[in-house]
């Protein structure tokens, strides 16, 4: 019976392999042709958890560099607990921001300081304002970029492109001058990882553009890795609880499966042998 089970398992895998593998291969084909450098992310793999100091540094990079153009609409200050901050630190962090708060008696807009339940405010009031300030380009929201730039492949994992690697790739592959024959329109930059290579975002990171609170040297690569980690967390904030629960579920169900295997064998013993027919 184990043999038969194995056959069924293999068949099932093969069927899904060919169909799903095909789909994901096509996804990968749509991404940039540039071979992205692959990093060993501490939060990758079934047991990987976020590197909290890196998340905190990534938040700092976001706040001091990226946030001037990129919104983070879906993340609330209260969620920063996951980065290792306590309630008071989050309160203080939120209080640095201002939010509209109704109108006073003369019809003028009133403001209040932020609370932990508030969401990161957007740098621009609307898309038009954002485009006007950025040479016609619209800086995308950061909340889901870590997941929407991924190209995962189930059966050819080596072809997978991870969102974090892509983000680091974008931040690290600017060329000062476009290669010969490529014309850069006004305000555009040349970037190897970006599909089409012409990107409206000027190189955002330079060595030591931020001063890390924990003293880590702020190289461009270090900052890119930190902000990519932070962006992946922003896109998938429940990753840690998901993996922890998954381990419990799979251990429990595996033991139950083994037990049910023996129950089944016991139930079938006489029938299998044909004892009832003799």
């Amino acid at each position: 019976m184990l043999n038969r089970l194995k056959n069924i398992g293999l068949m099932t895998l093969a069927v899904s392999a060919l169909t799903i593998g095909g789909l994901t291969a096509a996804n990968a084909a749509g991404a940039s042709a540039y071979p992205l450098k692959k990093y060993d992310w501490p939060h990758a793999g079934p047991f990987g958890m976020f590197d909290k100091p890196s998340l905190q540094r990534g938040l700092q990079v976001y706040k001091e560099v990226c946030a001037s153009c990129h919104s983070l609409d879906m993340v609330a200050f209260r969620e920063l607990k996951a980065l290792g901050y306590n309630a008071d630190e989050i309160k203080a962090f939120a209080a640095e921001y201002e939010f509209p708060n109704g109108f006073d008696d003369e019809g003028e807009e009133k403001y209040r300081k932020g609370f932990p339940q508030d969401y990161f405010p957007a740098p621009y009031a609307n898309e038009e304002e954002a485009r006007d300030a950025n040479n016609g380009a619209f800086p995308p929201d950061f909340s889901l970029l870590g997941k929407s730039r991924e190209h995962l492949s189930l059966f050819t994992p080596w072809n997978s492109i991870y969102g974090e690697d892509y983000i680091v790739g974008i931040l690290n592959t600017y060329h000062e001058d476009a290669p010969e024959g490529v014309e850069l329109a006004d305000g555009m930059s040349y970037n190897e990882a970006f599909p089409g290579n012409l990107i409206a975002m000027a190189p955002p990171l330079f060595d030591d553009i931020v001063e890390y609170a924990d003293g880590t040297p702020a190289t461009t690569e270090q900052m890119a890795k930190d902000v990519a980690t932070f962006m992946y967390w922003a896109a998938e904030p429940k990753m840690e609880v998901r993996k922890k629960m998954g381990l419990k579920v799979i251990i429990f169900m595996s033991i139950l499966t083994i037990m049910l295997y023996f129950v089944n064998r016991r139930v079938w013993r006489k029938i299998k042998k044909g004892d009832d027919l003799a």
Binding site: V15, G22, T24, M74, E79, R242, I250, T257, W268, L277
Partner: protein
């Protein structure tokens, strides 16, 4: 669901049973009252797995609806609200999205098992029809469900698929009228999202209804079996409970482990990354692909140069399964005793998988690097022709002409023979 020999001993239960014989119904459907062939193999587990997935999808779906808003301005954010703010919302949503894929995996295996062992043949034709109706309803439900998160692939998938119905333009304005009815306007927009949401909630319950008919139709002739011969004598059959309840529980438990690996460790691998970008009618994704379970039919659609005939070919590729009981003229059900049929069955399966693989390719992508390069469109046409040739030529001819292997007299006899040998 035939008559039951259920005799409750408890007086209160008997009192109730005399007034509503529902326990007897359960007994004769899933309990010891249903006699099943004794030789069902593990491929027969996939029916109950499909039933399990239907229940999982309905339960998780009902919970998702409690937190979702079907409006173009709010749907995308509502899904992220479920993922971030709702307690265990990520678990419910990932179970539902991966559950849809696993439901299709299970149902495809269930259908293929029916094809291999001849379960569609007399007297089970109506059972086969009802299964195909369930599958068609699943296709519609799955498609509309994929639209609800209102990501880029939701929107553009909905645009591509609904536009297909515009091909039915048999008189001036007919195609357009169909499209306006589907969209509730002049393009995929808020009315489209709202009607898809309504139907996505309704159709699963229709599926439940057809599933009940499917089980009813199953219990008249009883289950087919790997030998494909009728289970006659008492030695051929065993009670569903405890034998198949134990076996189904073991299979289910194993299946849940696989499902859990997807939900907890690669929850986004079956989806398209573009669906984490909110729908934008002004930006067309470079490559629009449907969910993986539609891909073979998508290739057939693309293979035909004419739009109307492409759509007809696509629908025909599924509807042709309805006439399979008559295309197959063999007196023997199981491909176990029909080696040529078995060979072509596996070829058909490989070809269909390849059609699915081609569905992800752009028409001009080079598939085979010879003779100046054969592109995906050409390969899609060859594969599509084989797909239909299998039904129209291969099955009718092979089933009537092949020399078959000797079939055992009875299931019980085959068990005894196997024991003698082993």
């Amino acid at each position: 669901m035939g008559s039951s020999n259920y005799q409750p001993t408890n007086k209160a239960v008997k009192w109730f049973e005399d007034r509503l014989p529902i326990l007897g119904l359960m007994h004769s459907t899933l309990g010891a009252g249903y006699l099943a062939p004794r030789n069902l193999n593990y491929w027969w587990n996939f029916g109950s797995l499909a039933g399990f997935m239907l229940v999982v999808q309905i339960i998780t779906g009902v919970i998702l609806v409690m937190h979702y808003t079907p409006h173009v301005d709010m749907a995308f954010r509502a899904v992220e609200h479920i993922m971030r703010d709702v307690n265990y919302g990520w678990l419910i949503r990932y179970t539902h999205s991966n559950g849809a894929s696993m439901f299709f995996v299970v149902v495809y295996i269930h259908i293929l098992r029916g094809m291999y062992f001849g379960s569609y043949k007399s007297p089970r034709e109506v059972l086969w029809f009802l299964g195909l109706v369930i599958y068609l309803l699943m296709m519609a439900t799955g498609f509309m469900g994929y639209v609800l998160p209102w990501g880029q692939m939701s929107f553009w998938g909905a645009t591509v698929i609904t536009n297909l119905f515009g091909a039915f333009d048999f008189y001036e304005g007919m195609g357009e009228s169909i499209l306006h009815l589907l969209w509730g306007g002049f393009a995929v927009d808020n009315p489209t999202l709202q009607r898809f949401f309504s139907l996505h909630y309704l159709l699963p319950f229709v599926i439940v209804g057809v599933v009940i008919l499917h089980i009813w139709a199953l219990h008249l002739p009883g289950s087919n079996n790997p030998l494909g011969i009728d289970a006659k004598g008492p030695g051929d059959k065993i009670p569903f409970h405890p034998y198949y309840t134990a076996k189904d529980l073991f299979g289910l438990s194993f299946f849940i482990v696989i499902l859990a690996i997807f939900i907890f460790y690669m929850p986004n691998i079956m989806g398209h990354p573009d669906n984490y970008i909110e729908a934008n009618p002004m930006v067309t994704p470079p490559h629009i692909v449907p969910e993986w379970y539609y891909l073979p039919f998508y290739t057939i659609l693309k293979a035909v140069p004419d739009k109307l005939f492409g759509v007809i070919a696509m629908f025909a590729s599924i509807l042709i399964f309805f006439v399979l009981p008559w295309l197959d003229g063999s007196k023997i059900r199981s491909a176990k005793f029909r080696p040529t049929t078995a060979f072509f069955f596996w070829l058909f399966l490989l070809n269909t998988l390849y059609l699915g693989y081609l569905g992800t390719k752009l028409p001009d992508e080079i598939m085979i690097d010879m003779a100046g390069g054969i592109d995906a469109l050409t390969m899609g046409r060859i594969s599509s022709i084989f797909y239909f040739a299998y039904f129209i030529v291969i099955v009718p001819l092979v089933s009537r002409m092949e020399s078959t292997k000797p079939v055992p007299i009875s299931i019980a006899q085959s068990v005894l023979d196997a024991n003698k040998k082993g």
